[in-house]
Assembly symmetry: C3
Homo-oligomer: 315 residues x 3
Amino acid sequence: MRTANSALRSKDLLGIEQLSPEDITLILDTAEGFKEVSERPVKKVPALRGQLVINLFMEASTRTRVSFEIAEKRLSADTLNFAASGSSVEKGETLIDTAENLMAMHPDMIVIRHKYPGAPKMLAERLPASIINAGDGGHEHPTQALLDAFTIRERLGRLQGVNVSIIGDIAHSRVVRSNIHLLTKMKANVTIAGPPTLIPMDIERMGVRVVHSLQQAIQGADVIMMLRIQLERQGKLTFPSLREYYNTFGLTPERLRGAKEGVIVMHPGPMNRGVEIASDVADGPWSVILEQVTNGVAVRMAVLYLLGGAHMGGE
Amino acid sequence: MRTANSALRSKDLLGIEQLSPEDITLILDTAEGFKEVSERPVKKVPALRGQLVINLFMEASTRTRVSFEIAEKRLSADTLNFAASGSSVEKGETLIDTAENLMAMHPDMIVIRHKYPGAPKMLAERLPASIINAGDGGHEHPTQALLDAFTIRERLGRLQGVNVSIIGDIAHSRVVRSNIHLLTKMKANVTIAGPPTLIPMDIERMGVRVVHSLQQAIQGADVIMMLRIQLERQGKLTFPSLREYYNTFGLTPERLRGAKEGVIVMHPGPMNRGVEIASDVADGPWSVILEQVTNGVAVRMAVLYLLGGAHMGGE
Amino acid sequence: MRTANSALRSKDLLGIEQLSPEDITLILDTAEGFKEVSERPVKKVPALRGQLVINLFMEASTRTRVSFEIAEKRLSADTLNFAASGSSVEKGETLIDTAENLMAMHPDMIVIRHKYPGAPKMLAERLPASIINAGDGGHEHPTQALLDAFTIRERLGRLQGVNVSIIGDIAHSRVVRSNIHLLTKMKANVTIAGPPTLIPMDIERMGVRVVHSLQQAIQGADVIMMLRIQLERQGKLTFPSLREYYNTFGLTPERLRGAKEGVIVMHPGPMNRGVEIASDVADGPWSVILEQVTNGVAVRMAVLYLLGGAHMGGE
């Protein structure tokens, strides 16, 4: 599995924007090898034994944290969860002080989720540990884009030339930003659709096509990626109602009739069934949503492994 | 320790109701072997190395979670705690979606505590992982009944023919339901006592005798099992007051004078001292309450081991 | 590294008050060996493999908990975190019942943080496990004093005869009490300074000198230890304002001009920059604040190791 070019050029994974197509291919190739580990009876390799990974989640995100934690354990790393609540952060400590304090305990890597865009970069510049961005505000969520790409490549055999339509709340999604960076770098064709109020004015500059109806987005797509409507923000919604949203942008089996044969449907989760996606689609033959979750562990193992600089051996 | 019949017939432990007397005996026999592991300087066997157990606690229960987590670690499993708070569950995700997402990460077993009766069964039917019920609403709490049975068998040498009196809030207790299933299957004699408002109308159909005074329940009992009055529900209590409860159904040293020589007193914890049980009883020579806790780890190790299908070896 | 006298005389670490100078020296010498472990690529020794350490934090303290947890993992112990929230403690269980229940699961050591002075001692008297005090109310925080002493000794080569000035809220600080015990036992000279309302009347009985200005405290000091002003208590502050505090007792580069060459500045963290300490001092050449954090892991490894009674071997 290992090649001569077996390390990322950077000590950190801050975003897809900084990665080269070669970096992306290296991560995806490495993840392929790790996917098999999770299917063994003994789901563990000693790659990161004796290394410490701190999961610094300053914003709640059980799914992403769990996926990283499982990836870390399957690499035999020691893991430590640090959440904002109940911590010195509540006593007014700054992120830099928290991070420098954690660093003084010699972790090898820090996985950080933070509400402020750029928080991972700030740590990466100051700390010798490898920093992995697990979502920073509306900025990037690189491992999500990597697992999406892994899933597309595994299903369709390639990324180049694949037509990917991303539908929903484009404006507030870090997942979209990371995905657009990745897909355009890998020469996929990206189409964006959603209510006009949820599409940023200048999104075309990122190299994507914008359409305003679900029908247009579905047509010709090899991949349909539905985004989560953040119900937490309800009351501040910039569209009339959830029912209205479902009627306009909800993905139903009927609407999928207009799609290409073999189209796959993706969703980063957690889903709002009956809002952005019908249950019959979520659980239907088009859906690769649970494969995305499975691949998330493999992709995170690959990132941790490549940044850890360790060499995978047999046990 | 291993016999030819060394696995449970089911992939899951959903309740005592589904177990045969042979299954129960297998679990208790296996737990005997594991009890010794917790007394070693190195409290660990490699039985579940490289297997992932997720503790999915959708209802707070530190004691049961801690007991399972220790059991998992002593079997060398990788463990992951998933609690409802702060998770995608709070973002409106259904239990099925949460579970399918966790399943996509290939856990080998899921230990679930949930407020809805039947939640573990729902998961067991859909997921290939082994599901262990750690308490589902008012339905069952099978590992509690198993550890109670282990304790009785260890102390009295048998379950058959033993007179067990269970006293307190019968109506709201999953522990009682699991215990009645287990004890009647193993041919113990079960007597129930408590305030009439806390005894379900049709409880006799489960094969138990109902009495209405503590004195009657104590008389002739080999085992007195006191239940917790759930103070959390105070205000909704269906009896006059805690003092009144203590005066009527609280177990005191005086009242124990009417008991058989060698009677043992059990409580699933956490105790309300001075409500259902006097401190002098809880800490007295009759009490096996802390042995129950010790045995809980051994019984949970046995269940995890038998469902894990792994084979225990020396290190 | 090991000497004939390789164990503490007590099974517990309740406070510095109970330690002899030999005990303190043994812990600091042992920590020296462990500091190197945290700098290896594989940051782990098998000293406590198969031993269970429970971190019983009944008061929030992420920093101290994280430091202990890392120390435990680097010694290969199994660790379990038990917090008050969501636990049976919330259901009204007493500390003794909680502890006896945990004990029944055979942990080897319990690290306890509790708001009541004496809580660790109460456990130590009743439980066979080794109890480590991680802070009990205003009483003691022995591992903090040990890591402070380790840092001073490492920087200045000795403790005897060193002039240490401790500045700030003396009255509410367990850190000060533990430090005074340790430093006076090791024949360092301790000076105390702070607003008169924050200095206990009888503090001189502990063998320290009291001065009332920052200038006097700085003069001649080899070590300046700044204490945290507990902003959480604001509103109940016994001095006019934070600004006023900074103007009187805040440590600034200007004020440090009156200090001895080579003076070091310490702080137990988390810092309030601009209240008790200026950022230029916290991040300046005098500061050993992050070294304290690093040394905290080494000192806690030493304490766990010495109480664990295990013997450190190579892997």
